[in-house]
Symmetry: none
Subunit: 183 residues, 4 copies
DNA sequence: GATGAATGAGGCTTCATTCAT
DNA sequence: AATGAATGAAGCCTCATTCAT
């Protein structure tokens, strides 16, 4: 996975993959039909933890919707900045168009589930009066957008201008929930 | 450029580039040192129109900040969905990490200028009282985020679920400027 | 053997040989030094029945030389068209030049013995007055030639034009023994 | 061609072919799609001279059918023993089953034409009274058989026992036309 | 300047052979 | 003795790059 993330699909050499995996080149072919199958299955495997994070469990009783989402985002951002999970997302953006199977899988397992979760949260927020804008439920993508941007930013522009993803997300939530009155 | 967009850097063959350009393969080398130079310079060239769009001219006097931004976004989204400008953005996301020169150029020419413009607009909006949240000026990325997401969405998930980018952006602006009172 | 016959030596995979033989790949190496040894010994084994056919026993007392040869040819052609024995001959033709040991063995065990037998039969035929042409004893190959041609024909051209090997051989014998007076 | 003849299709390395041809490996691919195409087209090219030999021109007026055939056979045997034309025939026998296109082409261009020519000659011989056996016209293969056997013999068994192909063919013709009365 | 045939390094893939279990 | 996972050498093929025309 590391190799694919840093080199992209085409530029990754199976020699290096094998070396990194500590096996001989031929061994790869005992487990995967070819380079494409290896790539797709690796991505699939790498995505599972993301899914698990999403389904991480019901929000604590009594928490506000904002707390729920903020907690979720905090976890997500932490994952993405400390592990290489974010790079996998970028890899999917990069190779998705040439690997429809990858894009499909990612949509099915992560995107659609994630958006459904967000939509539910938004609707709860609207019902509870925490969220004013009723149209937001139609575009749960908006909720996620800054987190995605942060992921991309880290791998492309971090060295030009660091970005405090958590703080950015907090401001974003302020837009949605209204600013928190700090005592 | 078309070839690089659809195939990515590594998978693009100079044979195809030459054919598409209507010249012989050798001719490419009269103008570019090698494949990398070709790629980088093509990207550079392709980015210029984006820059020009950004600098498209000062907002009409008397317009609200929201109108300015909405106009800008409308143009941007139109560009991105009808031309392949969006795919260039995706290409930069995909290849940026392996082509620092590309990422650098893009940051310098597009991102930093764009963000500066957004920040100025936000500050104007705050000064005029159109925008409540003062922290937004620190994160102009938030303003752009849904547009970026739309670009990526189109190339990866359009066939799973179409996305009305203009409408999404309108809802986003409602979050920032408050909902428009419709008559 | 089946694998070698249909694929040839180089294109035969030991994986397939093992599968077909119902053993694991490693097991082959308990019995044969390497692929070449396997091939040569298989050929050797496969040739034995041919040899036995040749030595099938002395002709019935009182039979004409023509009957002897015709009986022999009938057996040979039957063998060759109903079993895969003919393909082994073709395999030897195909691989012989690269496996001198195979050609040598085949010459020693089959060709020289077969020709000696043919020569003896021819000489008997000449002595009995059944065969006119005395020079034929120098070239017993002529006697066999149509049978060999039939073998090769079956594997190469059967689908273009079927060949009745028995009838052809009968005509051939007519040339040698004179046409049979049919009642 | 030399490489394919001595090694067979599978064992021939394109490296060696290129070296022998005095070009780089890649150059081969400018002219042939892949190794199979190279093989098939080489065979095709190599067969043409054989065809031309067959069509070498009408027999001299006033010649006997036997003279015609003997002349033809002499040319054929000379070709086959002094050039490598014979090995091509053996190569076709060897690889034909795995290259139907090769077998087809050979059948169409050489075998069917050759047999048609032989059949015509036989019928002429029958009409002129030179050939007694009327059934021979059904199996022109018989006429060719010893020549084919000679070809195969040369590459497999020449070193075990040399074979005088011309003399063998003469004896064969004696069977068909009756022994020549030597003065 | 333009061409495109030729090059050959490099990558994917196969498969005979080995060896720990 | 038998297994079959692992190995890595070797071969086919691609394609960026060169250069004689």
């Amino acid at each position: 996975m590391d190799e694919f993330i840093t080199q992209g699909f085409a530029a990754t050499r199976l020699d290096d993959v094998a070396k990194r995996a500590g096996v001989a080149k031929g061994t790869i072919y005992l487990h995967f039909k070819d380079k494409e199958a290896l790539f797709e299955e690796l991505i699939r495997t790498a995505i599972v933890p993301l899914v698990n994070r999403l389904a991480a469990g019901p929000p604590p009783v009594g928490a506000s919707v904002r707390d729920m989402i903020e907690g979720f985002a905090r976890t997500f951002i932490h994952e993405v900045t400390t592990t290489q999970r974010g790079d996998i997302v970028r890899l999917i953006v990069a190779e998705g168009p040439r690997f429809p199977a990858v894009a499909d899988f990612y949509y099915r397992e992560v995107v659609s589930k994630g958006l459904a979760g967000m939509r539910a949260a938004i609707q709860l927020g609207i019902a509870r009066g925490e969220i004013k804008n009723k149209d937001l439920a139609q575009f749960p993508q908006i909720l996620i957008a800054p987190a995605m941007i942060a992921v991309i930013w880290q791998s492309l522009f971090a060295r030009h201008a660091p970005l405090d993803a958590n703080e950015m997300f907090r401001v974003h939530l302020d837009l949605i929930f209204g600013e928190r009155r700090t005592a």
